[in-house]
Symmetry: C2
Subunit: 122 residues, 2 copies
């Protein structure tokens, strides 16, 4: 039980919560970025070239569906996936749909958060 929206609901509602969260290009892109571990909102925003408030909106959907979790560290909030099974699902759907190995809408800007700056890569 990874979210609280699954109790006493019509059949398949619990699954719908997850499918709904995954049915969105930007949210899928966010998950792709999170494949290699946690990232802060500012990094996701810069990397995906989307406004911060918009990324926040999508992160909230992902968080409320139970797919990601957040952790605050000073100024930054770092998001990560709760259960890596989600990647198997995404990969499965990708295989089903015959899509290529995900062409990410990449890196418009540099993220200036501490962890990104220290890495100094990507």
């Amino acid at each position: 039980m990874i979210n609280d929206q699954t109790k006493n609901k019509p059949p398949f509602e619990a699954e719908s919560v997850v499918f709904k969260a995954l049915n969105h290009p930007v949210r899928l892109a966010i998950l792709e970025v999170l494949r290699d571990g946690e990232h802060c909102v500012c990094h996701l925003s810069a990397y995906l070239g989307q406004r911060q408030s918009y990324i926040s909106q999508q992160l909230i959907v992902l968080r409320e569906s139970g797919l990601v979790q957040d952790r605050r560290d000073g100024w930054n909030v770092y998001y990560s996936v709760v259960n890596s099974l989600v990647f198997e699902i995404v990969d499965g759907v990708r295989a089903l749909s015959g899509a290529e190995a995900s062409t990410l809408p990449i890196a418009q800007t540099e993220c200036t958060c501490p962890s990104c700056s220290s890495k100094k890569s990507n």
Copy 2:
């Protein structure tokens, strides 16, 4: 490439087509019924207690997303899943969401199609 909606589209559109098709209680219920092989529309309609035209609408979505295929035999049209990987995905999402093993909205009426009548079960 199991559907035609995956070419020259924005990133993750192909995956979205599948996620969208799966994000629907009745369509998930239909897939559950199709776990044990092909079934005609009248059976799905009777078994799930939904009007035939409504089941048809949902089957069209599933078919256009490439998840199911149809086969005509006389009066009846039989639907079946194209790739059983879809069940692994559904099961994965179910595990992820912590849902129970799918409580189907079951059997209101009897289907009178040839294949159902001959089986004379369920």
